[in-house]
């Protein structure tokens, strides 16, 4: 109860700091594309290129089944949210280290640096969805009402992503290896998440790996609800929600506990 109250007052504080939150997110978005010729178009071009190559590899060469849906669409509804997750983690992990100049000069709640990074990645993600819309139009995909589940799944994904990001960003201040280790982990994690293949082709006895992986549950749920596979698996989704919330709560607690020492270590 007490911690719920704390969370609420923290959320309220974030609202008071919304100007800064947006300013930092804006900076993150701008900075990346300022010096490139194609600018912000990269957020669509990168996933587009990934989709085309992966589609060729997995659908045409390896003939991975895609439940009667054009493979590229089957892939896109999973790959774009996955990219959001992966990009959020790999940017957040550096968000404290790369803002050392601010951390050592002035107090503000440090989690804002992590949140703003995730907001920036979320904006990138929403724009990258234009690629998805193009494929829907090209393949005349019909969407169903279960699409309304998507925002809820998205919220679970954000809680999970933010939770992991907080702890990774804090630990990376103390041990800079975290960022390199993370790149490896995220790459392997993608293979163990049904992004490029349907979970159904995994032998039954190994499936448990996937139910322990919140990203797997989230990706499956997107695919199911967007591509008309019916209602999501409520049980898995509830478990993913609880797991994500617990991870968030623990990370947040540890982050706040370490916060006072951040300036000593950057």
């Amino acid at each position: 109860m007490n911690s719920l109250k704390k969370l609420r007052s923290n959320l309220k504080m974030m609202w008071d700091y919304r100007e800064l939150l947006w300013n930092l997110a804006h900076r993150e978005i701008n900075q990346r594309y300022k010096q490139s010729v194609l600018g912000y178009a990269w957020v669509i071009l990168v996933p587009l290129a990934q989709l085309i190559v992966m589609n060729f590899l997995f659908s045409i060469v390896l003939r991975i089944p895609s439940q009667g849906i054009p493979f590229i669409i089957f892939l896109a509804v999973a790959l774009l949210p996955w990219n959001f997750f992966a990009n959020s983690l790999s940017s957040s992990v550096n968000s404290l280290v790369s803002n050392s100049s601010l951390i050592t000069k002035i107090y503000f709640p440090r989690e804002i640096l992590v949140y703003s990074t995730i907001i920036a990645k979320m904006v990138d993600f929403l724009f990258s969805c234009i690629a998805l819309v193009i494929f829907f139009l090209v393949y005349k995909t019909t969407l169903t009402l279960t699409l309304f589940w998507v925002p809820l799944i998205f919220v679970i994904q954000i809680i999970f992503t933010t939770g992991l990001s907080l702890i990774l960003a804090a630990l990376n201040l103390f041990y800079r290896d975290i960022q390199y280790l993370l790149n490896l982990v995220v790459m392997l994690w993608m293979y163990l998440t049904p992004v490029m293949y349907p979970v159904e082709i995994v032998p039954e006895k190994y499936r448990f790996i996937f139910s322990l992986n919140p990203m797997s549950v989230i990706i499956n749920a997107y695919r199911q609800t967007i591509l008309g596979g019916g209602e999501p698996n409520y049980f898995s989704l509830t478990v993913a929600f609880i797991t994500s919330s617990v991870i968030f709560a623990v990370s947040f607690y540890l982050f706040k506990k370490m916060e006072g020492e951040f300036a000593d270590y950057v």
Binding site: D16, Y17, E19, L20, N23, L24, R27, Q31, N99, S100, S101, L102, I103, T104, K105, I106, Y107, F108, F174, Y175, R176, D177, G260, E261, A263, D264, Y265
Partner: protein, 244 residues
Amino acid sequence: MSDNIIIKAENISKVYNLRRQKTFKEFLPALFSGSDTRIKLNALSHIDFEVKKGESLAIVGRNGSGKSTILKLIAGVTKPSDGRITVLGQVAPLIELGAGFHPELTGRENVYLNGSILGFKKKEIDKLYNGIVEFSELRQFMDQPVKFYSSGMYMRLAFAVAVAETPDILLVDEILAVGDTKFQEKCLRRIKEFQKEGSTMIMVSHDLNMINEYCQKILVLDKGKQIYFGEVEKGIDKYQQLLS
């Protein structure tokens, strides 16, 4: 806390961990051999002082005696390892040498970023912006990344941002020594104005004349220990004894 005290340090100590292992290569062997390779450094021990509203405090001591650490504790960017520090009111960004702005961002972007950290809305910063540019005399450099600034320019901008809106507490770390005398005088005039309006300045400086003129209280430190806290005149005596 009695009504007009705005900073109160009660028996604060600060311990830094040195030789922290920044990589697993250093950390893992240390973990398995069970040896704690961390060396503790007592940057401050048992510091007690208080500052009343409108009063200014000078902190003096040799290099490494913990002066900057006290400013960081007041700014709230670091926490004391022991004891308690209470600060009431808006603290301006710490003004010190070295990186303080985001090097890749332009002067203008840094002004807006700093402003929003201090809780200003974009419109409010728009209003302050001209004054900041004017004060810093950096108009033609505002759209350049701060990494191209000289240390003098850098300090001008930092000072201009910190004083844009009368803060309750201004923290100045050995910075008035850089930059030309003309700009230094301008800063000092501004500080005088503030003090009239009831702001508090905490200043680390080696310039005893300046301390005499601008501060009412002094804190003398030596190797992290408090030698003296109180009236400026007596403090300067103690400090000079320490140096000799």
